[in-house]
Every structure is written in structure tokens, then in C-alpha cells.
């Protein structure tokens, strides 16, 4: 065990944006770092999964103790002050070791046990299956077929086994093409737009250098072109900036030469690479993490980070893709360098724009499974699951989730899920609690036997689907908007506060419309049941009542219990008052809901306190004796009587 000191008392937790602090006990377990406030029954707890910790920093000693700054991948930042330096050092060095697992066996997924039997676990893994998904799209069909060329991962080890290619693409063509593509990632089908028989294909950059060409690869593209009777022209979208693609030529890579391929329209899109994106997010987080940030610094910082510019670029590319496919009925081939970052972003987002199915909870899982997991987005490297190369880390998937969030803002009724679903997925991409996102490719996951040894996130999320529903989702919206055409005017892009300040409760609206409407919807369902029951009873008395016109189809479904905390990485200790705990967890973790006001006595608006917001530190006392009245703070919440 790497834990030297399992428990330290009298630790102070400083709020990131105000002078508020709370005192409690710090526990270190094999999987979590836990801070328990020592403030009686309703004290809150913070659970931090070791995998979520991105960095631990010991700051210089202060009068009150030794500060420890912990930054997490889910954008939580905690600042502890530990009274004794020795304890601080112990915690620091333990964490230092714990947050850098050296082998996959150390990951939480392999010790996490949700008390399910083998059959339940296996069923969980079977929930999302890509075979039926391609069938849903209408593949295989007369133009597209399943190929077994990669059955043993021989042709491309980062691709899945099952791949769909044009029927006219023979094995030699596939193999030849794969040899001409970086990492062997030859063009394959990822989405089929049945209405126009247009295909979205993906691959990696060609190894063209300055002049090399490959007949098989040219045939491959021709096969894709032939598979679409409506429009012979293929758009080839190189999602990189032109300069990057040009530079790649020197390394024997590059992009397609329009002269060598018939019927292609080549296009650069200009999404920056993983290093630029990593730097951009770093800058963004630095800016929004500043205390007493001025509006000017915020806006200048937002602009200089370039973050929203990158988001817009991805969105523009996806819109271009969707338009080419749905309006022109053309097939599109998307690639970047290796075809697992920008390509995944653009293909997934483009499909989401074209196909309403991907805007449902289940469909979104399928989409991630397809374009991200199976096609080998390198989650292990990008999310730094094992102590790896820091230059490989990049928020590519986070950007995809953010693009989807922007779409939910423009089309509030188009998505079955709310932003909390996106945030929850983000949480678990980094938690390593479930097997889905471990390692870099399907093959590597098979080697680890994840389906036998770990649980699937999708089953877990579906079991608490209730929490992620968008209450105003309308399934009729998809009929009027089968294809989403978002506006990408700059002013539509906003900073995603609920993601990047998820844990900074002072930042958030104090009453959540989402939560409110979600609760009402649940209540509506219950009331409908009550009405029916009452009517049945009345009927026994011979009273006929007008049938209730249900506005949602009546469903007799028992609701899964609400989890203790929406941030599921944090199991909750048993406490005396369950109800109370529930409330507090929600506020502590989300800070987005008002407390139902209890009658009489003390009332609070949770998360809404004057001191926390730091309007101004009032100037000191008037005289020596009259101190400015101290605001009574209990559990970080200003209490007041009305």
C-alpha cells in the first residue's frame, strides 16, 4: 500500500473564489481522497477519485499550515491547508504515487463492484451493440458490405474487427489502400445516410509525401464514389489546417492530390491539432480560475485562449459534412493525420446533426461507442489513464461534448438528454471506474478482457436515465427537424460554465429550471397514476368520469431511485438523515437547486450568500472594539431568519 497516513484531522478546505474555508478531516483510501467536514450532522463530504486527480502541488508553508493544491480532470480544484507539514508531505507523496498508476490492474474499474452478478454485467455490455446499429442505418446493402479483412486486427490494429466497405472494394484493394494510409487506417464507412444513399467514411492521411500515389487507394475512393448513385462526387475533408498538412508531406505523409483521384473535391477545414487544443484549454482554465477576475480580463482571456474559436471550427466542419451529405447527397471522406481525433469529432458531430437517433440517450451512447471507442480514439493517452506522455493528453473528447452542449442550447427540444448527461459521461471518461473507455483501441480492450473484468458505463447510466432526461424533449421535433442546421454566428458560442465550473457552486444559478421542470414532469406522471386510481375507485361507486386526456402516453414504470449524488464517482457514506444528505449532496456537487422552503424557523437560499460572492471585503472596523459583524456561516451557507 502506498498510503502512509490514512487520516489527517483539522484540515482546512479553502474556497477557490472567496475567503471562505471549512475545517474537516481528510481521509485517504485506496481509491478516494475524502474530505469530511467536521460540523455536526449535516456536514458535507467531498470524495475525489484518485484517477480524477491531474496534479498535486505543495505550496509554500503559511502560518496556518501547509497548503496542498489538487487539480482534477473534471475541473475540480481543491485547496487544502494541512496543519502539520509532515502530514502534508505524507498525503502528497501518497497521492503522487496513487494518481500515477503504472499498470491497468491498478485502475478503479478492476476493483469497482456494483454488486451485480456475471449475467447482469454481461447484459450491461450487450446493451450497446454496433452490428444492429449499422443495420439500423441500412447497412449491409447492395452497395456496402461487412468485411472480415480486419478480423484478427491484421490490417489495422487500431480499427475494430467489423468494418463496412463498398462491395466493389476487394481485399487486395483494402490491403493496398491500408498500406498507403497512416497507421493502416484505410477508408471505411462510419455513417450511412439512407435517404440519399450517401456515405460518411473515415480514414487517416495518405502517405503521399510530395508525389507518391497508390492505385489501390485511388480505387478505394472510386469504390466509395461508385457506391453512391445519386452523386458520384466525393468530398474529401482534411480536417487539418493546410499548413499542417503541407508540413506532413515532408515526413512522407500528406493529403490527396486531386489530380490522382477522380471525382473528388478536396477541402481543408482547419481544426488545430491536439497540442494546440491542450494549450488552449490550459489557458482557458487559468483565466477562469483567477480569483476576483475582472470582466475585461475574463473576456480577453477567453479570446486569447482560442477555445471557442476551436469549438466553432469543429462545429463548422460538422455542418459542412452534414450539408454535403443531406443537401447534395454526396459521400464524404473525413480524415486528419491519424484519423482518431479531429476525424472522430467531425464524423460524430456530423452524424448527430443528420440523424435524430443520436440525439436520444441510447443513440448518443451508440454514437460514442461507434465513432470514438470502436474506431480507436486514444482515450488512454488523451485522458492520461496511466502515467503516460503528457504531450499525448488533449481535451478532444471534451470538445465534442461541448459542441453537443452548444447544440442543446440552440435546439432545446431536440435532445432526449440534458447537459448533465454530457457532464456525467465526461466525468466517467476520466474516472476509470467503468471499462468502456480504458486503453486506446478495441484490440487492447480485448486483451484486457474488460467485458469479463469490469462493468459497462452505459448500463449504469441507463439505470439512472431519469436523472439525465431533458424534460422538454419532444420526439415530434425530430420530424420537423430531421437535420439540425445550427447557426455558427460567433455570438452563439458561450463559455460552458456548468462543465468548467461544475464544482464551483458560487458561480451557478441558484435555482435550476432544468431540475424544477424535471421534478414537475415526474410529479405529472405520479399524478396521472393517482387520477387513474381514483377514477377506478369512483367507478366502483358507479360514477363515470371523463377520461383523462394524457399529454404524455401513460407509462406504468417504477422509477429508479435517485442516486445519492449525481456525481457518481463519489459513493456516499451512510448517514443518519438520508433525506438531508440527498439535498446536501446535490447542492454540494451541483449547486444548482433551491431548497424547498421548509415552514417557519430558519430558511436558506442554498449557495446564495453574500460572503461567498465576495462583492467586497468591507473596510476594517471603525474602532478598536467594534468589529464588523461577522456573518454567521454554517456549512458554507448563510443562514438567516425571515
Amino acid at each position: 500500500e502506498h498510503i502512509r497516513t490514512p487520516k489527517v484531522e483539522q484540515v482546512k478546505l479553502l474556497d477557490r473564489f472567496s475567503n471562505k474555508s471549512t475545517t474537516g478531516t481528510l481521509h485517504l483510501t485506496a481509491t478516494h481522497l475524502i474530505f469530511a467536514e467536521s460540523n455536526g450532522a449535516s456536514a458535507q463530504e467531498i470524495w475525489i477519485l484518485h484517477h480524477h486527480i491531474a496534479s498535486v502541488e505543495k505550496l509554500s508553508l503559511t502560518a496556518s499550515g501547509c497548503p496542498l493544491l489538487i487539480q482534477c480532470r473534471n475541473f475540480r480544484v481543491v485547496h487544502f491547508v494541512i496543519p502539520r507539514e509532515r502530514d502534508c508531505h505524507d498525503i502528497y507523496s501518497s497521492l503522487f504515487r496513487l494518481l500515477r498508476p503504472v499498470s491497468y490492474d491498478e485502475l478503479y474499474a478492476f476493483s469497482y463492484n456494483p454488486k451485480q452478478n456475471d449475467q447482469q454485467r454481461e447484459e450491461g455490455w450487450q446493451l450497446i451493440d454496433l452490428g444492429p446499429e449499422f443495420e439500423r442505418m441500412g447497412v449491409p446493402c447492395d452497395q456496402w458490405q461487412l468485411t472480415d479483412v480486419n478480423r484478427d486486427y491484421k490490417v489495422c490494429e487500431t480499427y475494430p474487427r467489423d468494418l463496412y466497405v463498398p462491395i466493389t472494394a476487394s481485399k487486395p484493394i483494402i490491403v493496398g489502400s491500408s498500406k498507403f494510409r497512416s497507421k493502416g487506417r484505410f477508408p471505411v464507412l462510419t455513417y450511412f445516410y439512407q435517404e440519399k444513399k450517401a456515405a460518411v467514411c473515415r480514414c487517416s492521411q495518405p502517405l503521399s509525401g510530395f508525389s507518391a500515389r497508390c492505385l489501390e487507394d485511388e480505387h478505394m475512393l472510386q469504390a466509395i464514389s461508385k457506391a453512391n448513385h445519386n452523386n458520384r462526387c466525393i468530398y474529401v475533408m482534411d480536417t487539418r489546417p493546410k499548413l499542417n498538412a503541407l508540413a506532413n508531406r515532408a515526413a512522407g505523409k500528406g493529403y490527396e492530390n486531386e489530380d490522382n483521384y477522380s471525382n473528388i473535391r478536396f477541402q481543408f477545414v482547419g481544426i488545430e491539432n491536439i497540442h494546440v487544443m491542450r494549450g488552449s484549454l490550459q489557458k482557458l482554465l487559468e483565466v477562469v480560475g483567477t480569483r476576483s477576475l475582472s470582466m475585461t480580463d475574463y473576456m480577453v482571456g477567453l479570446e486569447n485562449s482560442g477555445w471557442l474559436r476551436h469549438i466553432k471550427a469543429i462545429m463548422d466542419a460538422a455542418i459542412f459534412l452534414a450539408k454535403a451529405v443531406t443537401v447534395e447527397g454526396a459521400s464524404v471522406l473525413v480524415h486528419c493525420s491519424d484519423g482518431w481525433d479531429r476525424t472522430a469529432q467531425v464524423c460524430a458531430l456530423g452524424s448527430l446533426l443528420m440523424d435524430p437517433y443520436y440525439r436520444t440517450i441510447k443513440g448518443f451512447m451508440v454514437l460514442i461507442e461507434k465513432d470514438w471507442i470502436s474506431f480507436g480514439h486514444k482515450f488512454a493517452d488523451r485522458c492520461d489513464q496511466l502515467n503516460g506522455d503528457s504531450k499525448e493528453v488533449s481535451p478532444i473528447f471534451t470538445q465534442f461534448l461541448e459542441c453537443v452542449w452548444h447544440l442543446t442550447e440552440q435546439f432545446p427540444q431536440a435532445f432526449e438528454f440534458s447537459e448533465w448527461f454530457l457532464i456525467q459521461i465526461h466525468e466517467h471518461v476520466h474516472s476509470c471506474q467503468f471499462g468502456n473507455f480504458l486503453r486506446n483501441s478495441q484490440r487492447q480492450r480485448e486483451d484486457l478482457q474488460l467485458r469479463e473484468r469490469t462493468y459497462s458505463l452505459w448500463a449504469h447510466l441507463l439505470s439512472e436515465k431519469q436523472n439525465y432526461l431533458n424534460p422538454i424533449y419532444s420526439s415530434s421535433f425530430e420530424e420537423s427537424h430531421p437535420v439540425l442546421v445550427p447557426s455558427t454566428q460567433a455570438y452563439h458560442f458561450k463559455f460552458w460554465r456548468n462543465m468548467y465550473h461544475q464544482y464551483d457552486r458560487s458561480m451557478h444559478p441558484r435555482q435550476s429550471i432544468l431540475k424544477h421542470i424535471l421534478t414537475l414532469k415526474e410529479s405529472n406522471r405520479e399524478l396521472e397514476g393517482t387520477v387513474r386510481a381514483l377514477k377506478a375507485k369512483l367507478q366502483k361507486f358507479g360514477v363515470s368520469t371523463s377520461p383523462l386526456k394524457p399529454q404524455t402516453p401513460p407509462r406504468e414504470r417504477s422509477l429508479p431511485p435517485r442516486p445519492q449524488s449525481l456525481i457518481l464517482g463519489a459513493p456516499v457514506l451512510s448517514r443518519k438523515e438520508v433525506q438531508r444528505e440527498e439535498d446536501e449532496e446535490v447542492f454540494a456537487e451541483e449547486a444548482r437547486e433551491d431548497v424547498p422552503i421548509s415552514t417557519g424557523g430558519e430558511r436558506t437560499v442554498e449557495g446564495s450568500s453574500a460572503t461567498e460572492n465576495g462583492y467586497m471585503e468591507l473596510p476594517g472596523s471603525f474602532g478598536s472594539k467594534s468589529e464588523p459583524a461577522v456573518v454567521t456561516l454554517e456549512f458554507g451557507v448563510a443562514r438567516m431568519t425571515c
Binding site: 475582472s294 466553432k312 427540444q413 455570438y491 460554465r497 435555482q511 414532469k521 422552503i597 468591507l618
Partner: protein, 549 residues
């Protein structure tokens, strides 16, 4: 009537109207004394009725004999009219120009407007100071209503009745008035029922460079403190600006003369700066060609969001002093008619749940803006498209509404009204058929006989049909103090106003409707359950003797 002289061409056929996100409309353009009307003369298309007073500026262009007039409105909308015939176009343009810049208040539309609805409750009689004082009297007897300003001679920008400390006589008030900018001596703005602390407002003290003092002024504001208690003076200007004011006869309270008060300086910009900021912001919002970087840098350069943050922060500070520190507060800037009112009115929204109701908010605007002497007519003479020759225009009231919207966003269940209500107020402050926002102060409104000659906005707004539109379906009364976040990340651009005409809101509107639908369905179901329960209970009591043998 004199309007006829200004209208050379009263009607033109074959005019084409272009509006963003709407199909173009071809029809007949008519000019009347107060309206620009475009009617397609078909039943199913709506007519455009535009108040001349709503027109901020116009531009004309010619291509051959086809003229185009671009009309930019005070509510930030931009429309384009294609007018066949060069002469017609020139005539129309010059008429619009003349009619939209009438100097005389008494020629404004409210004096000609006759309501098509029955006035059930006269808005002019709704918020009389006497009535407001009755509420105060029920809470404390420390205050009295003074008639010292009966003929508006002590302070021309104050109303005739003012709430002042009970122990201060009118003579003291007069002396204090002579020591304050514009005669605006400290008066009661808000009484915090919970702890008896108060918020007062005033003009700056006229200390000048030689540090004049005024015993009566000191006595007046000290009279508002409880024994042994201290207070805060919130000066909305920076210390540097306040220092400079001394040279022009103004200044700030010296600690030595006001030992029981602690002065805090904040940095709310002066009105001319705000106007420039609005112009830049709207220009940025209207340019569709921006790249992300350019948009963000223009948004930042407008400084609008900084103003919002600064004003909200100051209001929160005032509220914090009152509610958390248990201290009374005096707020002033220079004149005490702009930033001062932003701060005092926002602080009340934070502190007083009553102000978050529709009626309470109307009272607040009446009390803290109209009667308190915010010069609406001067400030709202021009809006974001004003070019050149600015006099004293400034979006002071719009900024206040923006701040209210920010709080509303953060506490969406705590307000009885919705965003539409705030937008309506913005529109009517700049151009209206109602007389409410005409004039600069109570004295002027009395002289103009607005209450007899015009209809009050409140008479219209408070009709049940209208109220329904402004009602927030999420509202659940809550008696708490609501502390908004003022972090830049928590403050948003008010899209409902600034991007209103630049985006399609169809999806958002439908989503809102769906939300309303869910809420209403819930109420309906609850009623249904209650009535069924009642029915069942009745049956059970009737039947019980029969069933139990």
C-alpha cells in the same frame, strides 16, 4: 395640424419591407403624424406599425430610381424599406427624420393616443407616495412625510412628498438641500423590515475645494442611525473622480465630519461613457461577419458587461451592508439621479421579495426611477444608433434592466415576472404610446398634466390579459434575500435585447411553451386529483352506513 406640413408624401405603393428572419412584405407605406405604417392589404400578413418616436436614425441609398431607407429603431431593430421613385423616397425620408425628432413633448404620441381598452385601474393613481408611506408607517414610526418640496423649490428633481427622519424639521432639510447637488438632500429609499436598517440616497455633498461642511446635513443623516450604530456611505464614483468633483464645487463626505460613517468608493461609469458603450455593443451584435476572436474582442471593447458587473457588485455591496452588517447605507454619486438609482433599486430587488412581484417592481420603478427624478426624457432621447451630437443620452435604465435580468437568470423561480416584462419596459422607456416615461422629473410631469392627458403604462400592463404574458410560470414566492453571483462567468449577454433581431428564436420559444405546458398540466392534474378525492370522500361517507352492516 402641424404634422401635415411635415408629410409631403403620405402614401407610396409598391414598397418592399425587409426584416431579418422574416419574409419580405410588399405593400403600401403610409405616414401619419405618429406612425410609419406598412400594409400589404392582405388579410393574412401583419401590418407594420412603427412609432416615429421609436426611430433612432435613418439612412438612405439609391440605385437608379429605386430608393432604400434603412430605419434603425430605439428598440435596436433594423428594417429596410425599398421605395420606388426617387422623389417619394426623399420625401418619406425627410418626413421620418422630422417626425422622429420632434422637440416638443406635447406633440408626442401619448398626448394623442386614445386607448382601445377600458382602463380598469388608473396607473397614475397606483403608486402615490402617501400610499407607500402607509406601508412604512406600519413598520416603524421613525419617519415622517415632509411637504417641504411641495412646490418643487427645495429640490426641483424630487417629488413633492419625501420620507425623512421624524426628528428632522423642514428647516433642517432646506439647509441640507443647499449642501447637496441639485438640492437632493438625503431621503429614505428603503427600509429593511428585518433589522430596521435603511438605505438613503442623495446628491453629492457640495464640499468644494475648501471642505465646506453642513451641520444640518450631518444631523440629518446621523438621525437615521440607531444609537451606537454606524453606517456606510457608498459613493458610486472612484475616489479619483470624487476628488475631481471638488474642483467643480462637489465632493464627498469627510470622515472628520461624519465620524459615524464609513465611506466606500465604487466605480460606476458616468452616463456619457455608458452611451458609447451601448453603441459599440450594438454595433458588435449587428455585425454578422465576425470571426470568434473579433466578436469577443469587440464585445470586450464595448465594456458593457463590465458596467453590468460593476453596477451589480455595488448593489450587492449595499445590500450586504444592510442585511449582513446590520448597518444603514447612504448611496450617492454626482447628481444622484443615475448610478445612485441603479444601486438603490437593485439592492431592493436583492433584499425585498416584494420588489420581485409584478406590482412590486412597478412600484419600485415608480418610486426609485420616476419619482426619484431619473431624467428619462433626456437619457432615452436616443438609443444605440444615435450618431454624433449626443446631449445627455445614456442607457442608465437599460443597464438597470440588464442587471435585473442577470438576477432573474440566476434565480429563475424567484420573480413573478419574466424577461418579456423587462423588455417591454425597455421599449416603453424609449418610445411609447403611454405617458409614464415622458418628462424628466415629477415637476415636469405635473406641468405637462400627464395624468390627465395621457394614459399610464401601468393601466395597460395591469390588465389581466397583459399580465398573463408577463407572468413567470416558474414563480414560487420566496421571502429570502437573493445573493447573485457577480463573477464574469456568471454574467451573460442579454440576448433577449441585444440579439433579439439577429437570431431566430423559434426553437427557444417553442421550448419555453413546452415548459409552460408542463407547469400548467401539473396544476391541472393537481386540481383533478383534489376534486376526485373530494368526490370519493363524499361518496364514502354517504355509502358507509350501507356498507357496514
Amino acid at each position: 395640424m402641424e404634422f401635415a406640413e411635415l408629410i409631403k408624401t403620405p402614401r407610396v405603393d409598391g414598397v418592399i419591407l425587409h426584416r431579418p428572419f422574416m419574409p419580405k412584405v410588399e405593400g403600401t407605406l403610409c405616414l401619419t403624424g405618429h406612425h410609419l405604417i406598412l400594409s400589404s392589404r392582405q388579410d393574412n400578413t401583419e401590418e407594420l406599425w412603427l412609432l416615429h418616436a421609436n426611430i433612432d436614425s435613418t439612412e438612405k441609398r439609391f440605385v437608379g430610381s429605386l430608393g432604400t431607407i434603412i430605419v434603425k429603431c430605439k428598440d435596436l431593430r433594423v428594417i429596410q424599406l425599398d421605395i420606388p421613385g426617387m422623389e417619394e423616397c426623399l420625401n418619406i425620408a425627410s418626413s421620418i427624420e422630422a417626425l422622429s425628432t420632434l422637440d416638443s413633448v406635447s406633440l408626442m404620441y401619448p398626448f394623442f393616443y386614445r386607448p382601445l381598452f377600458e382602463v380598469i385601474e388608473d396607473g397614475w393613481q397606483l403608486f402615490l407616495p402617501e400610499e407607500v408611506f402607509k406601508d412604512l408607517e406600519s413598520m416603524t414610526d421613525e419617519w415622517r412625510l415632509s411637504e417641504v418640496n411641495k412646490d418643487f423649490s427645495v429640490c426641483p428633481s424630487y417629488p413633492s412628498l419625501l420620507t425623512v427622519p421624524k426628528d428632522i424639521d423642514d428647516e433642517t432639510l432646506c439647509k441640507a438641500a443647499s449642501f447637496r447637488h441639485g438640492g437632493r438632500f438625503p431621503v429614505l429609499s428603503y427600509y429593511h423590515k428585518k433589522n430596521g436598517m435603511v438605505m438613503m440616497r442623495a446628491g453629492q455633498p457640495l464640499t468644494g475645494t475648501n471642505g465646506r461642511r453642513c451641520k444640518e446635513d450631518e444631523k440629518l443623516i446621523n438621525a437615521t442611525l440607531c444609537a451606537g450604530k454606524r453606517g456606510y456611505i457608498i459613493d458610486t464614483r472612484t475616489i479619483a473622480v470624487a476628488q475631481q468633483a471638488k474642483a467643480r464645487g462637489g465632493g464627498f463626505e469627510q470622515e472628520a465630519n461624519y465620524p459615524q460613517w464609513r465611506r466606500i468608493h465604487k466605480a460606476i461609469e458616468r452616463s456619457s461613457v455608458l452611451q458609447e458603450s451601448l453603441i459599440k455593443l450594438v454595433e458588435a451584435c449587428n455585425d454578422q461577419s465576425h470571426s470568434m476572436d473579433r466578436w469577443l474582442s469587440k464585445l470586450e471593447a464595448s465594456n458593457w458587461q463590465s458596467h453590468v458587473k460593476e453596477i451589480l457588485t455595488t448593489a450587492c455591496l449595499a445590500a450586504q451592508c444592510i442585511d449582513r452588517e446590520g448597518a444603514s447605507v447612504l448611496v450617492h454619486g454626482t447628481e444622484g439621479t443615475d448610478s445612485t438609482l441603479q444601486v438603490t433599486s437593485l439592492a431592493q430587488i436583492i433584499l425585498d421579495p416584494e420588489c420581485r412581484t409584478i406590482r412590486g417592481f412597478e412600484t419600485l420603478i415608480e418610486r426609485e426611477w420616476l419619482q426619484a427624478g431619473h431624467p428619462f426624457q433626456q437619457r432615452c432621447a436616443q438609443s444605440a444608433y444615435s450618431n454624433g451630437k449626443l446631449r445627455s443620452e445614456a442607457p442608465v435604465f437599460l443597464l438597470f434592466l440588464d442587471c435585473v435580468w442577470q438576477i432573474l437568470r440566476q434565480f429563475p423561480c424567484s420573480f413573478q415576472f419574466n424577461e418579456k416584462f423587462l423588455i417591454i419596459l425597455f421599449e416603453h422607456a424609449y418610445a411609447s404610446q403611454f405617458g409614464t416615461f415622458l418628462g424628466n422629473r415629477v415637476a415636469e410631469r405635473v406641468k405637462l398634466q400627464l395624468s390627465q392627458k395621457t394614459v399610464s403604462l401601468w393601466s395597460w400592463v395591469n390588465r389581466p390579459q397583459e399580465l398573463e404574458r408577463f407572468h413567470n410560470p416558474l414563480y414560487e414566492p420566496n421571502n429570502l434575500v437573493i445573493w447573485p453571483s457577480v463573477a464574469p462567468q456568471s454574467l451573460l449577454l442579454w440576448e433577449g435585447v441585444f440579439l433579439r433581431w439577429n437570431r431566430s428564436t423559434k426553437c427557444l420559444d417553442e421550448a419555453y411553451q413546452e415548459m409552460v405546458h408542463i407547469i400548467e398540466y401539473n396544476k391541472e392534474l393537481q386540481n383533478k386529483v383534489n376534486s376526485l378525492r373530494r368526490q370519493l370522500a363524499e361518496l364514502e361517507t354517504e355509502d358507509s352506513p350501507l356498507q357496514t352492516p
